[in-house]
Structures are given as structure tokens and as C-alpha cells.
């Protein structure tokens, strides 16, 4: 691939998006605080946004930007409701560890 000083191969953007997505998955599975798990989900959504914008550049159309905008809006709505749910869980269980919210297990 041609790498001059003023152009970046598109595959590098997609690779960065994949790395960020993998980091989001790692955080989602590994961490035990509910809020940090939620933030890993946001990291995954951001990685996907980067993919959308990169492909939109390749196809020279703004559709990818529109998708990305809608993803942002849905993420904002999800953050609002999700954080309200977290507040309710905290009020009822007094804990923020996802391992301890297990009263419906078995």
C-alpha cells in the first residue's frame, strides 16, 4: 500500500476501529462495575462509528455520516435510560458490582 506523508491508507482506519472494538469487548467481559461495563459498550459504538465514517469516505457519499449520527443519537438515548436503570439498581441493591446482582440466578 502506498504511504506518502499526506495520505493514510483506509485499511488503517478500519484496523484502528477493530482494535478499539476488541478493547470494548475486553472491557465488557472483564470489568465488574456496571458503569464501566456500560462505558465499554460506548467504546464499541464509537469504534463502529469510525468504521462507518471511513467507508463513507471510500464511497464518497455522506450516508455513512448519517448512520454514524443515528448511532450517536441512539447511544445517547440508551445512556440516559441505562443510567436511570443503574441508579434504580443501586437504590435497591446498594451495590454496583454486576456479580452481586444475581438473585434471579438458578
Amino acid at each position: 500500500m502506498s504511504v506518502q506523508a499526506n495520505s493514510v491508507p483506509l485499511s488503517w482506519y478500519l484496523l484502528l476501529s477493530a482494535i478499539l472494538f476488541a478493547l470494548g469487548v475486553a472491557g465488557f467481559i472483564w470489568r465488574r462495575n456496571i458503569i464501566t461495563v456500560f462505558m465499554s459498550i460506548e467504546l464499541m459504538l464509537n469504534a463502529v462509528n469510525l468504521s462507518f465514517v471511513a467507508f463513507s469516505y471510500q464511497l464518497r457519499q455522506a450516508d455513512g455520516h448519517i448512520f454514524s449520527l443515528f448511532v450517536m443519537v441512539v447511544a445517547a438515548a440508551e445512556a440516559a435510560v441505562g443510567l436511570a436503570i443503574i441508579l434504580t439498581v443501586f437504590k435497591n441493591r446498594q451495590t454496583l458490582e454486576i456479580d452481586e446482582v444475581e438473585s434471579m440466578k438458578y
Partner: protein
């Protein structure tokens, strides 16, 4: 110049992402996520998405993450205590993730044509005009549906956080 900015921003993004996964305290993790969003905004600018970059900072980093930080401060979430050793996750997790990334990288390299690179200024359709035209002609229905979705989310959040006055 594009290459230098891309390298700096991607290194910052990956470093903040790793920091998000490794930090014990939720506030540090939240600020790392803000760092990721900031560097992604610069990358969007390089890809010609001026409006998306501004929307990322205004909406995502400036409102959604502030909401996260509020909740962390209100709930007084402390640092995560050291947990029991889950050896499976620690042992197999990072190698599997690395394999996942390598697979994706291979798929990208195999499928993508290698003709051109990304240069700042070559794509101008991401300006507010371009986005505005697209949103209000091709994507008008999704736009309206998404606004109804936000209304539902607001109602849901209010109902959930409402204190019952007995």
C-alpha cells in the same frame, strides 16, 4: 502531515482504550473514554466529516460522558476491589482478542482495494450542508423516528428516576 496526525491520534485512542479497560476507578475510566472520543473526533475531521466531528464532541463527549460522570459522582462509585482470580478469562482472554483482531486485519487487507489513501479535503460531503441535504431528503423518516425514540428515552428515564411521593 495527515499521516502524523493519524498516528498521534490513533496512539492516543488505543492508549486511552487500554486505560479504560485497566483502570480501577470509574472516573479515570470515564475520562479515558473522553480521550478516545476526542481523538476519534480528530480522525473524523481527517476523513472529511466536519459535522460528525463537531457532533461527537458536543453530544458524545460533552453531554453523554458528562451524564456518566454525574452518575459516578452521585453514586460515589469507588475503585473496584480486587476480585477472585478468574484464571480462564485472564489466561485465554487477551490471546483470543489478539486472534480476533488479526483475523479482522487479514479480512480488511484481503478485501479492500489498495489504490488510494485518505487525504484531508478530498471528501467534502460531510459538511453541515451535505449532511443536512441527506437527512432532510433521503433519511427523513429515520430522522423523525429517532426523535420519537429520544422522547421515549426521556420519558423512560424520568419514570425510572422518579421518586414516589407517598
Amino acid at each position: 502531515m495527515d499521516l502524523i496526525i493519524f498516528l498521534i491520534c490513533s496512539v492516543i485512542a488505543v492508549a486511552c482504550g487500554i486505560n479504560l479497560v485497566l483502570q480501577k476507578h470509574p472516573i479515570s475510566a470515564a475520562l479515558s473514554l473522553v480521550g478516545v472520543m476526542g481523538s476519534l473526533a480528530v480522525l473524523y475531521l481527517l476523513l472529511g466529516g466536519a459535522f460528525i466531528a463537531a457532533a461527537q464532541i458536543i453530544v458524545y463527549a460533552g453531554a453523554v460522558m458528562v451524564l456518566f460522570i454525574f452518575v459516578i459522582m452521585l453514586l460515589n462509585a469507588g475503585a473496584e476491589p480486587a476480585g477472585r482470580k478468574r484464571s480462564y478469562a485472564r489466561l485465554f482472554g487477551p490471546p483470543l482478542l489478539a486472534i480476533f483482531v488479526l483475523l479482522i486485519a487479514y479480512a480488511i487487507q484481503a478485501r479492500l482495494p489498495r489504490s488510494e489513501g485518505v487525504q484531508f479535503g478530498r471528501f467534502t460531503g460531510g459538511s453541515p450542508e451535505g449532511i443536512g441535504i441527506k437527512v432532510f431528503t433521503d433519511y427523513l423518516l429515520p430522522f423523525e423516528v429517532v426523535s420519537v425514540l429520544i422522547l421515549i428515552a426521556i420519558l423512560g428515564a424520568i419514570v425510572l428516576a422518579h421518586k414516589e411521593i407517598r
